[in-house]
Symmetry: C2
Subunit: 382 residues, 2 copies
C-alpha cells in the first residue's frame, strides 16, 4: 500500500432509498441516492456531521476507494483523522444530490430525469418534477432518520452545498448545532443565477439535440452541454488562476491566434478541455434541473422572506466569503449574518483570500481548516 | 427647444473612406466608417482629442442629433462645453469601429462582413478578413491625416475603447500626448476573453442559422445572437446593480418561478429584454469579428511583449480600474503601469468605486470628470 494512501480514509459507497420524498412542487417521488461515511457513529449518535457537495460535485467528499486510487474526495484536506472534520471524533456523511450532474459516473447514485419512470418504463426526461435545494435537504433528513441520527454537530458545504447547509438551519432548526457555508449566500446572487444558471440552461436547451428534454433514445445535446460546462468552469475561476495555468501562450500544435483564425491560446484550449472532461459524466437534463434549483435557491422563499427565515435559525453560522469570487461577492454574505444577529442569533462572516476565485472553496480549501476547527470548538447555541 | 437639449451639443454624422487599409493579417481592404466631431479644430490643429467607443458602442459619444432627440451620446457627461473634454477648448472626434456591432442602425457607418464585397457583389460574410483593435487604430490614423491632424492631446476610451487608446500609445507614440484607458488593460483578461468573447462567439456560431457566417440570404442566427448579448450584458453588470433594478421580484404577468416552471424572476425577464433590445441592431458576424478582436487584444503582440511595448510609450497614461469590475479586475491594470514607470514613463492607476461593475465606465462616467480634468491639465511628457 502506498504511503500517501494511508493519509486518506478508504471509503465505499452506500445506498439510500425512500419510497416517498415530498417535493417543494407538491409532488412525491421515490428516490435512491448514494452516500459515503467517514469515521464512526458514537453510541449516543451525537457526533454526526453532514457535508453537502457543490454544483458539479458528488458524495465522494473524502478518502480513496482503494490504496491505488490516484484521487481523493473533494474536501479530503478537511475530512479525516486529525483534520478539521476529525474522523477520530466525528461521523461524517456526504450524500449524492437529486439530479446529480455526474449520473453517468459509476460512482454516483442519483434520481432524476435520467432515471426510469416506474409509470412508463422509460426515462422521465423533462416529465421529472423540478427539484429544489430544500428537496435535497428533505432527502438527507430521511437518510439521517434511517441511521437513527436526530442531531447534527454541523452541516457544511461550499457553493450550492452551502445553499443546502443554510436550508438545513431553516428547515430543521432543532437538529442543527452549527452551519459552515463557504462561498454561499441566503439566495442566489443575480449574476450567478443569470450567467451560470440561466445562460447554461439556455446553451443546453437551444441545442436541437435536446429535443425538449426527451433525448434518451439518441446521443443527446453534447455540444450544448459542453458550452454550458465551459461557462460554468470559466466563471468559477479567476484571471490570476488562468494566468498561473497558461500565461498567454499559444496552444500546443496551434498557430498564434492573431496569425491564423483557427489558432488558439492555451487558455482557450485548456479551458475547453477542462469543460469537455467535466461534461463527460454529465446528463443534460440533470444539468438543467440542478441549475434551475440553484437559480431558485432562497432560504426565505416558503419562510416569507429573509427576516422570518433568520428568526428560525438556531444554529451558529460561519459564512466564509472568498475575496476574488465574482459570482458570490463577499458583501452578499452580509444580509443573512446581519439578520441572524439582529434576532439574537450568532452568525459570523470570515473572508478567505484566494486567487482562485469561486473555485478557491475547493482548490484552496486547506485554508478553511483553521477557522472550521476553531468554529467546531465553540459552545453550541442551545 | 427643450432646456435640457441645450446642455448637449447638436451633432451630425460624417463619413470617412479609404481605398486601402492595411490590416494586421497582411491583407488590405477598402473601408468606410462614420465619425462625429464636437468643438472646433484650432488653426494650428493642435487641440484634437480622440474618443474610442467600447464593444457595443458607436461614434455617437456625445450630444444629440436634434433638439427633440431623447438620448445623448454615451459619454455626454464628459464631452461638451465646460465638461472634462471641454469642447470650448478641444476638438473631439469619435469614429465607428470596423465590424461595428450595430451595423443595422441607420446611425452607424461601418465596414465588415455585412458589407458588399466588391469582388462578388454580395456580402463578405466570413470571407471578410479578421480585424484587430490595432486595425481600428490604423483607420483612425488615416482619418486624422485626412483632417490634417498629426498630434493628439489625448486618446481616451472605456473597455475595448481603452484597448484602442493603449494601442495608440504603442503604434503612434510620437502622436499621442496622453491616454485615458478606463476598465481596460494591456491585454484581454482571460475571464473576459473566455466568458464574454469565446462563449459569445460559440453561442452565435452554434446556432444552425449561422451557416458558417454566410446567412445573408436568410434571417440569420437571431436566437444565438440574443444568447450572446445576454451573456455580455449580464457580465458587464454586478449583483448590486441587478438588486437595485429588480430586487427579487417575480416578473410581471408571471407565476413565481418556484411554483411554476415557466415562471421567471423580474431580473431574468429584464435582462433578457435588455439583451434583445441590444441585439436588435447587431449583425452576428460583426459580433463574432469584434469579439475575436477583443479576445486577441494585446499591445505586446507585434511589439514582442509587454516590456518592449511599454518602452515605446511616450504618452502619459491614466488607467482607471473599477472596484467591482469582474471582467477587468483592478489588479490587472498594474503590470502595464509598472512596466511603463520602470522605463522612465509616466503611468498612474486610479480606482473608481462603482456598484455597477464593468458598466460603471458608462453608467457612472460622471465620476471620471474630475480625474480626467486634472490629468489633462498636467504638463505633457515630451
Amino acid at each position: 500500500m502506498a504511503r500517501e494512501a494511508n493519509l486518506s480514509v478508504l471509503v465505499q459507497k452506500h445506498l439510500f432509498h425512500t419510497a416517498k420524498l415530498d417535493l417543494d412542487v407538491a409532488q412525491s417521488i421515490p428516490a435512491t441516492v448514494g452516500y459515503e461515511t467517514y469515521g464512526q457513529l458514537s453510541p449516543a449518535r451525537d457526533n454526526a456531521i453532514l457535508i453537502c457537495h457543490p454544483f458539479g460535485g458528488t458524495s465522494h467528499a473524502a478518502g480513496r476507494y482503494g490504496a491505488d486510487d490516484p484521487a481523493t474526495g473533494w474536501w479530503d484536506h478537511l475530512i479525516g483523522s486529525g483534520k478539521a472534520f476529525d474522523t477520530d471524533k466525528y461521523f461524517v456523511i456526504a450524500v449524492d444530490s437529486l439530479c446529480n450532474l455526474s449520473v453517468k459516473s459509476p460512482l454516483v447514485i442519483t434520481t432524476g430525469p435520467a432515471t426510469i419512470n416506474p409509470a412508463t418504463g422509460r426515462p422521465y426526461g423533462s416529465d421529472f418534477p423540478q427539484i429544489s435545494m430544500r428537496d435535497n435537504v428533505r432527502l438527507q433528513y430521511q437518510l439521517l432518520q434511517s441511521l437513527g441520527i436526530d442531531r447534527l454537530v454541523c452541516v457544511a458545504g461550499p457553493s450550492t452545498g452551502g445553499f443546502q447547509a443554510l436550508e438545513w438551519a431553516v428547515t430543521y432548526p432543532d437538529m442543527v448545532d452549527r452551519v459552515v457555508a463557504v462561498a454561499a449566500t441566503h439566495q442566489s446572487p443575480a449574476i450567478f443565477a443569470l450567467a451560470v444558471c440561466q445562460a447554461g440552461i439556455d446553451a443546453v436547451t437551444a441545442d436541437p439535440a435536446f429535443k425538449g428534454g426527451h433525448y434518451y433514445d439518441s446521443e443527446g445535446p453534447t455540444a450544448g452541454l459542453q458550452r454550458a460546462a465551459f461557462l460554468v468552469s470559466t466563471l468559477m475561476h479567476s484571471d490570476a488562476w488562468a494566468w498561473n495555468m497558461w500565461e498567454r501562450k499559444t496552444a500546443p500544435g496551434s498557430m498564434h491566434p492573431r496569425a491564423d483564425r483557427e489558432g488558439r491560446f492555451a487558455f482557450q484550449a485548456g479551458m475547453a478541455e477542462l469543460a469537455e472532461a467535466l461534461a463527460q459524466d454529465w446528463d443534460a437534463n440533470h444539468f438543467v434541473y440542478t441549475a434551475r434549483a440553484a437559480l431558485l435557491h432562497d432560504i426565505g422563499y416558503a419562510n416569507r422572506g429573509l427576516e422570518v427565515a433568520a428568526q428560525k435559525i438556531k444554529a451558529r453560522l460561519l459564512l466564509v466569503a472568498i475575496s476574488g469570487d465574482m459570482l458570490f461577492p463577499p458583501e452578499a454574505s452580509k444580509p443573512l449574518a446581519e439578520a441572524v444577529n439582529r434576532y439574537g442569533g450568532n452568525a459570523e462572516v470570515a473572508l478567505m483570500e484566494s486567487g482562485a476565485g469561486h473555485s478557491g472553496s475547493l482548490q484552496d480549501c486547506a485554508w478553511l481548516a483553521e477557522p472550521i476547527t476553531r468554529f467546531l470548538r465553540r459552545e453550541q447555541m442551545h
